[in-house]
């Protein structure tokens, strides 16, 4: 049983990398249920890598990944999906030549119960009406912001316990970016637990309950979203740049 003040997900001294070297050099991070936590940090700090070790796209070399009190680092990415950990990667992840509807159905790929799938689609459509309005459009024909909305809606198909959102606003025009952050606020109001990675630190922290700064493979600083926004060091390093 997970009590409300126990973290949903805990990273303990996680080390990981792609070849010989380590990208993550001992990451410690708690994600509390029902909260949005925003991970910020410079390019190449290892933010995406953190998400990959949680969803299982990348194995870890040391430390522990604990989800609902269980060590999950040996589970396959499909098994972790089954536990309700959904990863929306940094690159565009829709299937461009498939319709919006088919993309949404792919989000429910591991589900068998058609009635449940329909219910989930209805629920997701309440937050993201676009999945009904543009049902038959090819996903690749939507604008960047619309595509992100569909991606996020698709991630809801499994009623996930934890959503890993990797730079959802990257490469979007200001209008689409606004759309994406509105979507994240909506999810937050719906009580979802989200680990958000954002280059756009100001907007990211603003929609988050808590924030963490990743630097050179380690978590350098943790605080409330509002707290980090006011922190002079964070402000100088990350907020100045993003408001340019």
């Amino acid at each position: 049983m997970t009590r409300i003040n126990e973290p949903l997900l805990q990273l303990k001294d996680v080390t990981a990398g792609y070849g010989a070297g380590l990208v993550l050099k001992g990451v410690n991070l708690d994600v509390m249920p029902g909260q949005i936590i925003c991970l910020i940090g410079p390019n190449g700090a290892g933010k995406s890598t953190v998400l990959k070790t949680i969803s299982g796209l990348l194995g870890i070399k040391g430390g522990e990944v604990i989800f609902k009190g269980h060590e999950i680092s040996t589970l396959s990415s499909k098994q972790r999906l089954g536990l309700g950990i959904v990863h929306v990667p940094q690159d565009r992840s829709l299937f461009p030549a498939m319709t919006v509807w088919e993309n949404i159905l792919m989000g429910a790929f591991i589900l068998k119960d058609q009635k449940l799938i329909n219910e989930r689609i209805e629920q997701a459509a309440e937050l993201f009406p676009i999945i009904i309005a543009r049902k038959n459009a090819a996903a690749g024909s939507l604008s960047g912001g619309e595509q992100k909305q569909v991606e996020v809606a698709r991630s809801l198909m499994l009623d996930p316990a934890l959503i890993l959102l990797d730079e959802p606003s990257i490469g979007l025009d200001p209008k689409s970016r606004k759309l994406v952050f509105e979507s994240i606020s909506l999810l937050s109001k719906a009580g979802r637990t989200i680990l958000l990675v954002e280059q756009n630190a100001r907007s990211g922290l603003a929609v988050s309950d808590r924030g963490a700064v990743l630097e050179a493979g380690r978590v350098a600083l943790v605080g409330t979203g509002a707290g980090l926004l006011e922190d002079p060091e964070v402000s100088r390093l990350y907020l100045g740049a993003s408001s340019k």
């Binding site: 796209l57 498939m98 790929f109």
Partner: protein, 292 residues
């Protein structure tokens, strides 16, 4: 004019058969980015299988497809599982070219041992029948072959577009990492997709054996034509390869009728060169990644 229309008829009928072989090849390329150089050899294997089964049972070659299709499917899955899957992802693209070529040579060798190099034909007795429609000759076997190819393509289309398995195949073609993140087993999709692509050679092989005398070395001829069609159609686009196959079928028949049959083979090479030089993504090459 009569000659031209006659060539059009013959060309479309032949093109339909090539469309079937090429669609399997295109499917394989789309899913795995593997240029399957053994596709021609699989067609010849299927031709021999049909030939032998026909001799043993006397059943109609078109009926035998029900038996040969699952056999070719299994052969395809096995090839992928034991020979292609173990390749390291980093150099799989280049090595798979060599592996499939080795498979082609291996199959050719095995067939030569069993059947020698004598040219064979599948002769159910009606292979030379034709109808005369408004003065034009329509060869019966080629006509049935054409219908069969269309039907098989239809089944392939429905499988890919209307089933959950098909959806996972298309998803893997369009964005493999994303498909994996959603729980698609990409290894199973690759193996099944390869099997599916090879299984189209069952029908194609039966038909090929009916309309052309063949021996184990015939696959060289076939694969060069298939590559031309697949490249012309835009690698990975099944619809494109069907249209390209019809175009090449008609083109070759026209050249054969108007110039000489010797030049007809040559058209394929000229088209292949021209496409590669002028428009490498083919006529229908996808602007969006993965048009399947």
């Amino acid at each position: 004019m009569h000659l031209v229309i006659q060539a059009l008829i013959l060309g479309s009928l032949t093109g339909g058969v090539y469309a079937l072989m090429a669609s399997g090849q295109t499917l394989i390329f789309g899913i795995m980015k593997v240029i399957n150089l053994a596709q021609g050899a699989f067609v010849i294997v299927a031709s021999y299988l049909t030939f032998s089964l026909f001799q043993m049972t006397g059943l109609d070659p078109f009926l035998l497809i029900v038996i040969t299709t699952p056999i070719m499917f299994i052969l395809g899955v096995a090839t992928q599982w034991f020979l292609l899957k173990p390749l390291r992802p980093d150099d799989a693209a280049e090595l798979s070219l060599l592996v499939t070529f080795a498979v082609a040579l291996g199959l050719e060798g095995a067939l030569s041992l069993f059947y020698k190099t004598t040219l064979r034909s599948i002769m159910p007795g009606y292979e030379n029948h034709s109808w005369t429609v408004w003065g034009y000759q329509v060869n019966e076997v080629r006509f049935y072959a054409f219908l069969l190819s269309i039907a098989m393509l239809g089944i392939l289309y429905l499988l890919l577009q209307k089933t959950k398995f098909g959806r996972s195949v298309r998803a893997t073609v369009q964005n493999p990492m994303s498909a994996q993140l959603l729980g698609v087993n990409s290894k199973a999709v690759s193996a099944f997709g390869f099997g599916l692509g090879v299984s189209t050679t069952a029908a194609a092989g039966a038909v090929f054996g009916l309309i052309t005398p063949f021996n184990p070395g015939s696959h060289y001829d076939l694969i060069s034509r298939l590559l031309t069609i697949v490249v012309l159609g835009g690698m990975g686009a099944i619809g494109g390869s069907v249209i390209a196959a019809l175009m090449m079928g008609v083109g070759a028949a026209l050249v054969s009728a108007l110039a000489s049959p010797i030049w007809s083979d040559f058209t394929f090479f000229i088209v292949l060169l021209l496409v590669l030089l002028i428009r490498p993504r083919g006529l229908f090459g996808a602007k969006v990644r993965g048009a399947l």
